[in-house]
Structure formats: structure tokens, C-alpha cells
Subunit: 715 residues, 2 copies
């Protein structure tokens, strides 16, 4: 059901309306009146006749006209009953403020489930519970009690009321940008992050979406919607609750899963989301992205009136992977004409006093720089805005002139400008003028760098999005009947683990390069198989009852002579029978010894919030210590598979490090893609381990495979 009537409600019933000033049921009505909500307000309280001059209804049923949504301020235990009343009235949405649900434990979970069931039966969509409320700033539908929130083009989704307050206050105090909507998602009991995202994607007034998240109820759907959204407008997100203490804190105040798994960060970025680590940068990044075009070529120029700021900015941008290329010769020549001899004109550009007597020189330098075809955006750092304060009052007028000129430049060239000013807190008029032209200004150098940085990051994403997976599954598209049979057989026999032979057969069906091995039921068969394969060979027990083959004495390697093979076969059978007498022995697997190569592990498993994910890393103990593994949410595209490989720290090893051979990266990439397809083809696969995988200069071999089946994945 669309959220139209919920987030764009034209009438609202306040259930739990009150005359007591400290109560939420009073404050809500006062705020709606003070903020001049464009729709209708219906206070509901059986004990009152009127509140703040509005007629008060005994129940929602009494209200004469249709009502879009209800703000419910009554306690948790009353909610299911209240929802039934709302349902009868035909109300479409409810904001539920009360806490006392999922976040307090088992009892709360039950109440929340009951509430969600009731709401579904009544056709009501719920924001919250355990939320600070919601605001539609276009119609002044303010159900938060926070006044004078600045209006603008950013939609805000937050799992923390005080983070929302921070972000709204910051916009008000430090920017000309503001919000189109705010939603405190609360426990996400009914409406989930991805639904809000979808709504904001379609909202024409919303230019960017800003999120504070501590956990997600349906991460997979969120990714799918995020991917579609970021192609149209930027999404900026900060994720709290990474550390143990942070998780403890998150768990105590939201009903969400405490913290998000490590895979989230990569998945968010893959979906084009701008992931922010520092809370200082969160609003500024959204402000910048909502106001300016992305940088197309990852190249920026720094313009400074002093060395220290230029140096620090260059360091920070380099850390972010943004390029600060030397300016082309024409540009350098132009700058030389504009600036004194001591100036540095390569990039960073340091005006070396060249703006002291006339700050309009900044605009001239900016013009020259933005004309450079190789430069995608400009970061101005230092004292701009403060010349009129520090040197001579009249210079403030030159600064205003420069601000107008830079503003017009932005409109003409579509190359973004971001400004750092030491004098931002003094609020000089020239800086307000810049903001008027959508040029964001920051008092912090770090924040200004981050903001031009995210314009480059978003530009890089848009340039390459088409090569990326969209997190949507194509279930069973490549399923093979024989494969289904293998899985069905295991199910019928009540097994969750496929036999090694079954797992390998399934893989071979889908062209995985599995080591060429054969099941032998007798010693004779083993000898014949070894002849076919070529000695030396390895023998391994195959039995659903033996999980740890080596421990059971079920593995023998490097066998060459017929005698050795026969001996090993018999010994394995004996060992296993002794180890677990009732074992169902299917036979012994005869495999060639793998050629030497680089050892890898590849695996898939199910993540709570994001569904099936794939892992990949080098094998061996050194790598275990470093946890040098790259992970992705499935499915993956060719590009993601390549990036996964490039992400591991030991990547240079694959390229023929210092005269060593180069390995077959293409085979590795294909293997990752095959895994992605396999999971789509058989959603019953809950876990898969290919370990070891031996990579060669040409091709690779899967030596061992383990597949665990279970309930069908639904994401």
C-alpha cells in the first residue's frame, strides 16, 4: 500500500489529546496549530469537549469527515484496541509514539506482533512504534513537537530522535538547506526503511535522502530499493553501533537488531549510498549532495590563500582517493597573470597574498580553474569571507562581488564549488550569498574536504552503475533437474549436508571446475579409478555420518602403487568402522593430487539482515590471522566479482609479484559468478564451502566442497 495517505496526510486525528501542557497529546496539537498545518486536526479524548479551540471527539468514530491518519500517544497496551477503532473509521496510517514493544524484550515482541497483525487486518500502515514521530514540512504536518524546523529538499530517516534533532538543528543554524520530510522509523514494526526510501525517491521536492541507522529489519529489500534510488538522487547514511559498547547502547534504545554486520558497509556502497563515518559530516554531505551536481571525473582543484590549509586539504582528499592533478599549462599561465610571483599555480593553488588587496581575484582564479577541462570541481579553502573582517571593511564588498561571480559560474559550468572559511562562524554576508547560489560553506576544513569528496564519490558511482548488480534475484533461472534431484534426495533422507560426491556432482552440473574424482565402492574400483585419473591419488571416505574425515582416519594421500591404494582403501574402511561403527559408508572418493598453486577459500552463507552473501579469501594460516576476506551480498555482477578479488590485501600476488607467475584471475572471477548463479538456482542452499580452491597460472581446481541445505531463502 502506498504511503501517500500516511506521509502526505491531509487530516490527522490526535488520539490521546490532552489539555495538560506537558503531555505529548497537548504539545502535538499546539505544534500543528502553531506551525499552521494545512490539513484538518481532530483531537480525540472521551473526557474533553475542546482542546486549544478545536472540537474534541469522544472517539474516532464520532469524527464527521474521513481521516487520513492518526497520531496515537496512548500507552503500548492500548494500541491494538485503538487501531481497531481507527480501522473501522477507515484511517490509513498511524504514528505510534509509545515505547514498550520489541525493545523491552519477549513480552514487548508479542505485543508488537499483535499490533502489526491488527494493523494489517485494519488496512493501517504504522510509523514506529517507539518513535519521536514524523514531519511533512511541505504541508506543515508536524507530529514531532519540534518547531521551526528548516524547510528544504532533504528527506530525513532516523532511528534516533536526538540524532534527528541534531541534524535538524544543524541545518537551521549552519545552512540555507532544510528538510522535506522527517520520519523517526522507531522499531520498523510495519513500515520499513525501504518503503520510506521508495516514497522519497518519487517525491519531486526531495533532492537527497539522509539516514541514521542502527539496524535494519529487512536489509535486502533496502538494498534493492537503495540501488534504484541512488540512480535518481543521492542517499547519505551513517551507521551507529559498530562497537560492542555501541551495540549495547543501540540495543537498549531501539528495537532493531543491535548493529549491522560487517558486510553492510560494502553492500551500501555498492548500492550507491554515500556511507559517512563521522557525525560531523552527515548533514554537510547531504546538504552538498542535495545542492550540487556530482563531479564527473574524480579530479578536483584546491584554491587556497595559505599553505597549511592547502596541505591538509590535499592530504585529506588524497586519503579519499580523489585526484588533485596538476593544472594544464593554459590554466597555469592564466593564474600566473592573476597572482604574484610567489604564488603556487600547479594545484593546490596558493594565491600567496594575491587576494589580500582584492578578494575578487578569487573569482578570477576560480573561473580560470573551472575552465580547465581536466578539473571537475573546486574546493576553496582559507579566509574567504573574512577579508572584510580581518583586513578592511570595504573588502567585504569585494567578497560579495566574488561570491556572486562564483555563484554564476556554478550555474554556467555545472562544476561544483565547495568552500571552507575560517570566518564561517562570524556569518559574513558573502558566505550567505554563496549559500544562496547553492555553494555550501563550512567552518571545518575536514568537513569541506569530505563534502567535495562525496561529490566525486557519487559521480564515480553514477559513471559505473550500469555494470553493477541490483541485488534482485532471478530465482531458479538456471536450475537443472538433476541438481534438484540431488537436493531432493538429501531432503528425503533427512540430511542437511550433501555428501561430498553429491556436492561435487551438483557443482559439475553447473560447470564448476571440480577436481576429477570418482567414487569407488571396492578396492578394485579404487585401483581402476586411480589408473584412469593417473597416480598419485588421494582416497577419502564418503559417508553422511562422518563429518571430520581426517579425524576418523578416513583420508590417505599421495598413493601411487596398486598395493598402496588397496591397503589404503581397506584401512580407511576399517578406521571408519572403528571410529563410528554404525556409519553408512557410501564408498571412497579417489582423487588426483592437486597441482601446486595458490590456495583460496570461497564460501556462501546467509546473513540475518541481507540474505545470501559470498566470501572469498586466500587460504592458509597467515591469511586467517589477517582475516583477509572480501564479502559481498549476492547476487554479484562481473564487476563486483572483479572488485571482490581486487579488494583482498594479497591481490598483488595474483598479478605476478616480483617475477613470480601471474595467476588466472579470470578463472577466479568466473568461479565467484558461478557461485552467485548457483545460489540463485537453488535457494535451498544455506551454506557452501569450497575449500581449498587451488588457483593456477591457467585455470583452477576445487579440491573439496561442502554444501548445507535448509529452508528455502526468501529475500
Amino acid at each position: 500500500m502506498s504511503l501517500e495517505k500516511v506521509l502526505n496526510a491531509e487530516s490527522v486525528a490526535v488520539i490521546g489529546a490532552s489539555k495538560v501542557e506537558t503531555k505529548r497529546g497537548f504539545q502535538a496539537i499546539r505544534t500543528l496549530l502553531d506551525e499552521k498545518f494545512e490539513g484538518k486536526i481532530y483531537p480525540v479524548n472521551p473526557k474533553e469537549k475542546s482542546i486549544l479551540g478545536l472540537k474534541c471527539y469522544k472517539s474516532v468514530a464520532e469524527i464527521e469527515d474521513p481521516v487520513d491518519m492518526a497520531l496515537i500517544t496512548t500507552p503500548a497496551k492500548t494500541i491494538p484496541g485503538v487501531l481497531k477503532d481507527c480501522g473501522k473509521k477507515g484511517i490509513s496510517g498511524a504514528v505510534i509514539i509509545a515505547g514498550g514493544f520489541r525493545e523491552i524484550g519477549k513480552q514487548g515482541v508479542e505485543l508488537e506482533n499483535e499490533m502489526v497483525r491488527t494493523a494489517a487486518e485494519c488496512g493501517i500502515r504504522i510509523i514506529g512504534p517507539n518513535t519521536s514521530g514524523m514531519m511533512n514540512l511541505k504541508s506543515n504536518l508536524n507530529l514531532v513537537g519540534l518547531r521551526d524546523a528548516p524547510k528544504g529538499n532533504i528527506a530525513l530517516l532516523s532511528q534516533s530522535g536526538n540524532m534527528a534533532l541534531t541534524l535538524i538543528t544543524e541545518a537551521k543554524l549552519k545552512s540555507l538547506q532544510g528538510y522535506s520530510y522527517y520520519v523517526g522509523v522507531g522499531n520498523e514494526a510495519d513500515i520499513k526503511f525501504h518503503e520510506y526510501l521508495e516514497f522519497f525517491r518519487d517525491d519531486p521536492e526531495t533532492k537527497a535522502i539522509l539516514m541514521y541507522v542502527e539496524g535494519m529489519r529487512d536489509g535486502r529489500k533496502f538494498l534493492q530499493e537503495a540501488y534504484k534510488t541512488t540512480l535518481i538522487k543521492p542517499v547519505v547514511l551513517l551507521k551507529g553501533g559498530r562497537s560492542a559498547a555501541g551495540k549495547r547502547s543501540a540495543g537498549s534504545h531501539t528495537g532493531a537488531l543491535a548493529g549491522i554486520s560487517e558486510v553492510a558497509r560494502t553492500a551500501f556502497k555498492r548500492a550507491g549510498i554515500i556511507v559517512i563515518e563521522s557525525s560531523d559530516e552527515l548533514f554537510p554531505a547531504a546538504e552538498t549532495l542535495s545542492s550540487l551536481p556530482p563531479i564527473k571525473n574524480n579530479h578536483i582543484a584546491i584554491l587556497a590563500d595559505g599553505g597549511g590549509h592547502a596541505t591538509i586539504a590535499a592530504d585529506l582528499l588524497s586519503d579519499m582517493g580523489v585526484k588533485i592533478p596538476e593544472l594544464d599549462e593554459t590554466t597555469q599561465k592564466k593564474l600566473k597573470k592573476l597572482l604574484p610571483e610567489a604564488a603556487s599555480v600547479r594545484n593546490p593553488v596558493d594565491v600567496a597574498g594575491g587576494t589580500d588587496s582584492d578578494p575578487t581575484v578569487f573569482a578570477e582564479c576560480a573561473e580560470a580553474i573551472l575552465k580547465d577541462p581536466n578539473i571537475g570541481g573546486l574546493l576553496l579553502v582559507g579566509l574567504f569571507g573574512g577579508y572584510g573582517i580581518r583586513f578592511a571593511k570595504s573588502l567585504a564588498l569585494n567578497e560579495e562581488d566574488a561570491a556572486h561571480r562564483m555563484g554564476k559560474m556554478l550555474k554556467k559550468r555545472h562544476k561544483p564549488i565547495v568552500v571552507h572559511s575560517l570566518y564561517d562562524s562570524e556569518k559574513p554576508h558573502s558566505l550567505q550569498l554563496l549559500r544562496y547560489y547553492n555553494i555550501p560553506v563550512f567552518g571545518s576544513l575536514d568537513v569541506a574536504c569530505k563534502c567535495i569528496g562525496v561529490l566525486a564519490e557519487y559521480g564515480n558511482f553514477l559513471k559505473s552503475y550500469h555494470a553493477k548488480a541490483n541485488f534482485v534475484y532471478h530465482w531458479r533461472e538456471k536450475t537443472e533437474t538433476e541438481g534438484v534431484n540431488i537436493i531432493e534426495k538429501a531432503k528425503t533422507e533427512g540430511r542437511r549436508a550433501l555428501l561430498e560426491t553429491e556436492a561435487k556432482s551438483l557443482l559439475r552440473l553447473h560447470d564448476f571446475p571440480v577436481l576429477d574424482d570418482t567414487l569407488a565402492v571396492t578396492a578394485d574400483e579404487a585401483v581402476r579409478a586411480a589408473k584412469r585419473i593417473g597416480e598419485p591419488v588421494a582416497l577419502k571416505i564418503v559417508s553422511p555420518d562422518i563429518l571430520h574425515k581426517s579425524e576418523a582416519g578416513g583420508v590417505k594421500i599421495r598413493l601411487s602403487s596398486e598395493e598402496d591404494i588397496r591397503g589404503a582403501f581397506d584401512e580407511i574402511i576399517e578406521n571408519v568402522k572403528r571410529y563410528k561403527p554404525e556409519s553408512d559408508i557410501k564408498g571412497v572418493l579417489v582423487s588426483p593430487m592437486a597441482k601446486k598453486g595458490l590456495e583460496f577459500i570461497v564460501g556462501t552463507k546467509i546473513d540475518d539482515q541481507f540474505g545470501p552473501i559470498i566470501l572469498f579469501g586466500l587460504g592458509g594460516v597467515l591469511v586467517e590471522i589477517l582475516r583477509d576476506v572480501s564479502t559481498r551480498v549476492l547476487p554479484i555482477s562481473e564487476r563486483s566479482a572483479r572488485k571482490m578479488i581486487e579488494d583482498i590485501k594479497f591481490y598483488p600476488l595474483l598479478n605476478g609479484y616480483r617475477g613470480r607467475p601471474a595467476y588466472d584471475k579470470k578463472a577466479l572471477k568466473n568461479l565467484l559468478l558461478l557461485c552467485s548463479d548457483l545460489i540463485e538456482s537453488y535457494p535451498e542452499i544455506n551454506e557452501m564451502d569450497l575449500n581449498p580452491v587451488i588457483l593456477h597460472e591457467e585455470g583452477l581446481e576445487i579440491v573439496d566442497a561442502r554444501i548445507i541445505i535448509g529452508e528455502e531463502i526468501k529475500f
Copy 2:
């Protein structure tokens, strides 16, 4: 020579004094007058009679009274001449503003050298050149032209004028703390960083030292002075010019070496310096450290009035390695009494609305928390200061009450409190009150976290400082005559590389566990040596003319029979003669094959800015890719040696990872200490490579050693 007369000058001559308002020579005098410099001012300009009501002198010689220091505003080329005049007058110090020295290249370097020579001859100490000037805010000796700089207890050293301006402006706008001194070090031509540091260490008004550095002329001496300083007062430092673009920028505006080598960060931290990465945190960290006692036990509590801030703070502090332990039961009980049921009282503490009607509850919670014996400091985050703004005006008084109480708590308990407030920019009185009690308040959550974090970092340093090396060498304390002879012999023969046999002899003299090998001059000798050592053995050519032994065919390994050894000996000699006919062959080294173990490299070399350093890391290609090496400036203490080993990523491997054997860490630590001693004993050693070193479960073996000698190290 002490800097007393320079930094605490009681009289100053302004050379290049002017009546032209835009000239530095005018501005300097006006600033000194406006700021009410307590000493005497002598304008010097042959063309003027008086400037701004002060008598103007034709030359310094004309001034009747003695003069402590000169501010020289004339161009670069005039400086040596001016200095001579100053010398004759007996002036002790000079601030040289002009650029055009080392930073412009070769010609500038020559002029700078001439200037330094002249100054030394005249007994004058120089600040700069290429500096924005200096300020002594105690006597109002303001030679910068920046007015109304806030006075206080922080001494500021900066290599960038605009970073200094940033830091001074920030103090003025956002804090009650200010500066005792500012020095723009400029090109560090004469007075170096470490001399300023020493001066500030002894200055009773200076409580903390704040530094912005892009490069250092004498890093080693700086470390030595820093080590002594940080035991007495904190030093906070940001290092610019890490990236290539940053170095380009730094190089273009300071005469310093562009950027500081990677070893600097660790060395600074070892010397107890608080190294800051983000320029937003630089002044706040100094403000905090200058105002509050360090945290003794690395344990802090977070007190919040909302979940989001608490969660983010917990994440950030965990990232810094600060512990956020659960509060003890008594404390939790007390908090439960103070707060509503929904509150979280473990840590982070979330008041859950418990302060809404009365913010003095914050003070009560703070009292309970700081009484907890396990808690060393408190971070208050959220809305404090804004209750009077957001909820009801009268609450502002409760907030002021709470501020007074927290201020007194600080004085009583000596446990620091740091405050984050969303309402900081609104400047409520309660927050100013906190500052009055030395409780720093920040509008940024990130910055507030960093600031309580640096109090813990500094506390950790002070607790452990006695176990650390002080960067002072004890030259030649453990020198052996025989060792001196080995080095002298190589010198006499004009060799920079010691022969492998010489290097190993030198190491053995100092009890390094070198593989037991013998030089054989004939095949017979080789066979006898192999008998003694026990086969299998390796043979390696020894010749000053052969650098790459394997390439020359000069290495044969795993030789067991007499025949093989003879054959290999002859073949090696032949190969080498063919490879380089004129080679001076000293013989063949007969070595046992090293036992299997973990392969390491240990090396020493000379760093431009910090002198001798030591490197240590695992051997092999994987490690090369990861650059998993830890480095330290020499000499190192036992603690540093241990920390070096713990620093490498593969450290867990040494402890017996997953049932593997544990290796002899003590032997490794001893080896690092032996290297440290050796470099002190023979300062002629410029470079040493022990590669490979094989580490065993017990002991280790040095298989190969290379030592390069050169000019004696002087640091």
C-alpha cells in the same frame, strides 16, 4: 643560548618601520601600540623622524638604550647586512619576516646559509625567516599583526601562518582558553622546533603545547626534548603533508623538508606526543589537555539524554581503544533511583527523559558515576545547555545549577568531565559556566569523543613513560676493540660494505646468535669445516667484489657428501672467476643448513630527520606485499622492542596460533635490543640487514648479515 631575550624581549626595534599603512613595518608598530606592549618600541628607518608618535631612528646603532630583539621587515637580500648592525648593537634575537630563502631553491639556500652564519657570528638567534612572526601574549609583544588574540595557557608553534590564524580564531570564538605564546617557526633556519619546546617546557604559564608541523630540520633532537617535555606538560601535534599532493603543497610554501617520514608518527607517540589527524580536533585537544587532569585508568563513562549520541560516542571511543566498562552495582542502583524505569544504567547511561523536567538530575548522575572507583572520566553528550532553549526557559537555571555542581565535582574528584552539546552554537550561559570551571564543551560529538580520548591517551603514556627510551644515545659504551678493528680495516681498504664474514664476526663479538659458519680457503678446509659443523652444509662465496652472490653462481646449498662439497667449492670459484675475473676472492663460507622456523628480517638505516631507525618484519613474499613491518627510532628500550614485535599484523602467529608451536619472542626481543646497542657502539654503521633471521620455538639463527659503514652518525 637561551631564548629568554628573544621570546620574552623587553624591547624591540622594528627595522623597516614605515608610515605606509599597508606595510608590515607600519602594522607591526600599530599592533604593538594598540595591544599595549609592556616593553619599549624603537622604529628604525633612515627616512623618517617619527612614526605613530614614536621617535624613529636612522639605524639601530643610534638607539640610546640596550635592545633585546629586532623585528626585521626588509627584503631577503638585505638581511645579512641588517644582522651585522644588530650584532654591533648587542641585539639578542631577530624575527625575520621575508621569504625568498630555502623555500625558493638553491639560491635561497645560499642566502639562508649566509644569514645563519652571520647571525651566529653576531650572537643573534633567528625566528624564521619566511614566518608570520611571533607573539608573547603575557607582555603583549605582538609581532604578528593579528589583534585580540585570546590569552591563556597554550603555547602555539606553527609552520603555517593560516593554520595559526585558524587555531587562534577558534580559541577566541569557541573557548575560554587562549595562548601564552605563538611562534611561526618559518624555515627553522636557526632556532629549531626543539629549542622552542624546551623554552615552553620551562615556562610556568604554559600548560600545553600545540604544534602544526610539515617537516622538521632536526627531528632527533626534537624527540629528545619532546620526551622530557611530555612528562611535564602535554604536547599536541598535527602533521601536514602526508600525501603526494600534500607534500607538493608543503614544499611550495615552507623551506622545510616536504613531509615527514612514516616513522615519525610512531616516534612522536613514543615521545608522549598526542598526534592528531583531523584539524577540527587540534585546538580542542590542546584546550582539553591544558585544562583537565589526564585519565588514569583508560575507563570512561558516557552519560546521554538520547540513544543515538550514546551509540556513536561508544563507537568512536571504542575505535580509540578507550574502555567503556559496565558501572558497578552500587552505581547502577544509585542511577536507577535517580532515573525512570526505561533508563539504561549500565554504560552508556541513557537518562531516557529523566532530565526533561529537571536538568540538575545530570549533576546527580554525574556525581554517582564519578564516585564509581572504576571510572576515570565522564563524557556528557546530547542536549545539555539546550533544555532552557528547547523546553522551558526556567530550565536554563537548573542547567546553570547543574553546571556549577559539575564544576565543583571536577575540583573535588580530579576526574575530568568533557561535554558535547547540540546547543553549543547558541551559547547558553550554562555552557560558559562549564568552561569557567575548565570543563570543555564542544558542539561536535566527534570532537568531544576525541578530547576525552586524548585525556586517556595521555594518562596511559604517563603511567608507562618510565619504561620507555628517551631517544638519547650512549655512544660507544659497549664498543669492542676487535670490532673497531674490523671497521677500521674495511675503511682502510676503501670498502663501505663489510664482508659477510666480517659482519658476522662483529655480530658474534656482541653475542648475536649467528649461524655457526666458517671461512674455507681451500676445498680441503671446506670439507673439514663441514665435518665439524655437521652435514648438510651450504657454501657461499666471500668477496668484496661480489654483491649478488646467487647471480654470480656463488651459492650452493644442501651439500652432504665430501665429493659434493669439493665439487661445489671448485664450481663456485670457477663461476665467480668467470662472472667477474678480477674478483678478490677471500674464500668460501661453509654454513650449516638453517633449521626450519619462522623467517624474519631485521634492519637498521638512517632517516633524514630522525637518524638511525630499526625495522623488523616477517620475511617472504606475502609479507612484502602487506609491508608488515614495524619501525622505531633508535635507541629502543625493552618495552619498545616488545611493542615492535606486537605491532606486526602477524603477531598472533608467534603465540602458537591454533595449536601451532609458539615461537621464542624473548629471543627476538633480545635481538632487537642487541641491534640497538650495536648501532650505539659503532656509529659508523649506516645500514645493517639481518636477512633472513630464522626464529625457532627456542632461540633464533641469523643466516645472513650485511653491514654498510659510512660517516659517523651525529644526532
